[in-house]
Symmetry: D2
Subunit: 336 residues, 4 copies
């Protein structure tokens, strides 16, 4: 960390700053220039709060040099983390496809979709039981019943299941869930992250739609520092001025996060763009860019009977995508 | 709500869409143009999920006409909501100043600051006990002990207290807190919002740093629909490409939210800009723009003794700000 | 276009609005609901200015239904535009790679790089002669001399050249340039766009870093409406809160723009991310997502001699990228 | 400037980097830590291009310490710049109100509005002759004729006039214009900025809607470095995810820019928010925050006759705003 002081800093304030910094267990290197004095901090600066340092009036600016995350940092853990999800490997050169409906709606629906995506080559089943909805008047998911139906689909197909936890009070229901998903809106729910660090279940941590890579990695750090190393990062689009797609899919998140961290990085083009016709091409791009896996929403016809005309078309679109994905990933794809 | 269909829509899909819409308790008005068919929905569309409608392949676009919030909507409640906070009125033409430190650090600190801001004219005391911190290695607040110290400061000064709730498991500690603050990162923690709707305590709901006015009002709607009408909205800066200030303070949030809703709107320039020297001018702007109140962080010297040199300067800056605020608000300011 | 009126609109204002609208050559369809009156406009609304409509106090909101662009619109021109660039086809199923240095620096440099990228399979040569620089103190390009050197490289290699025009006063120098590039900062330089519409040279129009797809297409419309149909769109990153990469590469721009328009869409991952080590994976993603071509910056060692150690490594990285690109695009890649 | 090297940097690359840096006329201070080597540059780093430095593979990150602008920098010019605009002072403690219509439409219109805003206390008249329009089909302004009409209004009222230059080819028409406005879309039209630096006319430079404070100041630097010190900065809203207002009005731009620079800072709430009912409160906030002046769009009824019912209401709204502005600025307002 480097602290840039204003010209001619007040000596009393400088002494007070130096005293405070010394108590943070770092060594100070002070270089006095003609116009500017620069204080370099050597040691572990990850716990130093930049906002506190800026409170001294003599401080002009503060620049962080070391990343403030450690457990998630590739510098201290050069090899890719490989996570065992109920016997299947995530990360480390393979490619994992998680598919399923937005919401679990009924036993027939979830089992029908699970069987269909399995047949197409999906590795795991996703489905929402607890649904974060902007509106209190919108369908909030089947909740506990949704989890029960997902477990039935797991039993029927053997696919591990991934579903979202919205509040710690629900956690007992997740005992047999294979991956707990933390949604974008809870990425900085620090109390929840800390608690999830106390279990060993794999956590799929979605990037908040206005959070930086570093903030995502700091949230992973909460889980890891509390004892759970099994974190999968997931890009699902960031919020920008462009409204034609729901969010802007940040494809560079994959190489960037894999450069900064050893954790697996998944991509969720369905939530990112919100327009189903663009999802297949964004999924292919995600494979080409080097991500470790995909979350794909497989729609079922919301209007009526399950797995009918419109729906089978969409599971068909997923099937066609899987064929193309194998073309992009001939060497790393582990076929079922 | 208006649904714009693609040219020559498939009749089977159209029938399926019409059937689904009819089940949502709305009436359909269909106008067939040369190039485009438009379906207008009449009735309460607040529970209709635009993303579901977009799943029909024949749908080109969907535009919402009515706001999806009702309890928070000024159209259905033209008069300003006035909230009683332990005997003091918030909203409805007065102006409320809430001041205090970022974190409660010790009994001496919080009482010293409480007395100082009270003397300068602050209406309420703020202070963090549970602190949402990006880093797991940063100070997380005094937690339960912090609440205890705030209550001591309340007893000592008579100032109502405002402090942040981070997780529902902490709620019993908030029994004597006057206003529960929901931080920007929890604005869409829907399980928490729903629970807070079951009490009658005033809730200060901060806008998430990448959330729209409508999303903020939908979060207020969660609380209000569950039974608690006492919601204060708070703008605290939005995230943009500009990094010189911590966030971009969206001053138009005050007139915009007051136009859309009858709820009181507060402004938090301290968190928005993150640079203390700009806070006084942004606070004056907040008063001039027509907000109902302010949250101001009054710094204490982080380095050493409490209320020493550096700190008294800052409480002095707050005192000067209060003098200027009275100049901006001669008619509406209710002096103590 | 749909105009939503406020409740109980003033009749005088309504008459004035109707009179004005009628003069815009559209037909009005008025539906009066219980709470809201909606005015639908039928006809060509592309010239109607939403901001003017909003000036009537009785107007609550205005929603555009038809896209305001015509020449660039796929609805009116379903087949892909294929542009002939000095005998090579751009768009329509092929894939074009344009490579070269950021700035032309010397004859040796540009010819050395041109030969190298040609050998690796690049289709065209790019290089900056006029450089838009944030700082007036930074190198502004070799200007006229830079164009002269590019033309030498074209002569030496046969590669068509692409270079940026910054001001209309420079246009005579571009007579032998094959594609004129309009940079992101000039995407809404409407006087320049109009002038470029009067020539027939292919224009590579870069998306401004805070412009929507629609604004990009409206800028293409300026060129096309003035008579030049040869426009290539180019995504080069948008500005967001994330600062780890220079901009956020909007990969969905390719399928989105190709859905809205028949024009070819190129991707420029070099400028988008600004970090050379991420460029190859973003280039592969661009091919997988269905773009029509790539702009890749091939660095030369800025420190010393040309095409030395560091540089050859980088042309080597480009060569490796071209090999991988052929793997992603076995069917559509037209090998040299 | 500080360059952070990767662990164990290659000696050959380090030598090459050092050689290149030395040629930039800066002195190097190298501190080798256990994990990181840091190179500090002392001297004038404003011409050093960070992107070039990042091309060395051994460079991990580069941080700028000194601002890259000099002429516009308050550090080198502590006193406020005061600009003489045809006998009236801009900046330095006064407050200037520039008002007028979006576009000049006719002689009657512009003279009628000019007289009205003058009577209310406006200091200068604004009006668009050349209009930057997103759509080629929208009204592009009266162009040369518009300038002629503005000069007539100047003659009739004595108000200095402010109008936008869109292309250097138009500049001869601006000989009698008092302030040349550079619009947001041309803020980085560097060829134009350089040419405007060769005249001495005051330039009102609008911030691009996705440009940082530093980029705005670098554009001012282009004008100033070429010899024209008379630059007025103007905030007109930045582009964010919020669409309820046209742009997000960055009120902190006033104190931030005045802290970084000695140039006057104006605010344009009309273009920022695009919703006329919010303009008066945003204008009052602009005065309270410490800006040096305002641009206010005074609408004329677009539908029919000039200065009729609807219009006089709006000039009435401007008149009411001027009364309230004097309340906010009792000490600094120079009444006419």
């Amino acid at each position: 960390m480097i602290i840039i002081l204003k010209e001619k800093p007040d000596q009393l304030q400088l002494d007070s700053l130096k005293k405070w910094l010394t108590r943070q267990n770092v060594t100070l290197h002070i270089s006095e220039g003609v116009r500017q004095t620069i204080v370099g901090l050597v040691g572990d600066t990850s716990a130093i709060d930049i906002d506190i340092v800026k409170q001294w009036d003599i401080v002009d600016d503060v620049k962080r040099i070391q990343e403030p995350f450690k457990n998630a940092n590739r510098k201290f853990h050069p090899l890719d983390t490989v996570i065992n999800v109920s016997g299947r490997q995530v990360g480390g050169g393979g490619f994992t496809v998680i598919a399923g409906p937005c919401s679990v709606e009924s036993e027939e629906q979830i089992i029908c979709i699970a069987e269909s995506v399995k047949a197409s080559g999906a590795d795991m089943l996703r489905g929402g039981a607890f649904k974060p909805r902007t509106s209190p008047y919108a369908f909030q998911g089947l909740r506990a019943e949704g989890i029960r139906l997902l477990l039935k689909a797991k039993q029927a197909t053997g696919l591990p299941i991934v579903t979202e936890l919205m509040d710690l009070s629900q956690i007992d229901l997740f005992a047999d869930v294979d991956i707990i998903q933390i949604g974008a809106r809870n990425m900085q729910n620090f109390e929840m992250l800390r608690q999830l660090g106390k279990c060993s279940k794999p956590i799929l941590l979605k990037r908040g739609f206005a959070n930086t890579y570093q903030e995502l990695l700091m949230s992973a750090e909460y889980i890891m520092a509390a004892g759970n190393p099994n974190v999968i990062l997931c890009e699902r689009g960031v919020r920008t001025f462009e409204t034609y797609t729901r969010n802007t899919f940040d494809i560079a998140a994959a190489p960037a996060l894999k450069n900064l961290s050893h954790l697996p990085v998944f991509m969720d083009p369905s939530h990112a763009c919100g327009v189903s016709k663009f999802v297949p091409s964004l999924a292919l791009a995600s494979a080409a860019v080097g991500a470790d896996g995909l979350l794909i929403e497989v729609h079922n016809n919301p209007s009526c009977a399950l797995c009918d005309g419109a729906q089978s078309l969409t599971t068909q679109a997923f099937d066609e995508l899987m064929v193309k994905l194998r073309g992009i990933l001939p060497h790393r794809y582990i076929s079922k």
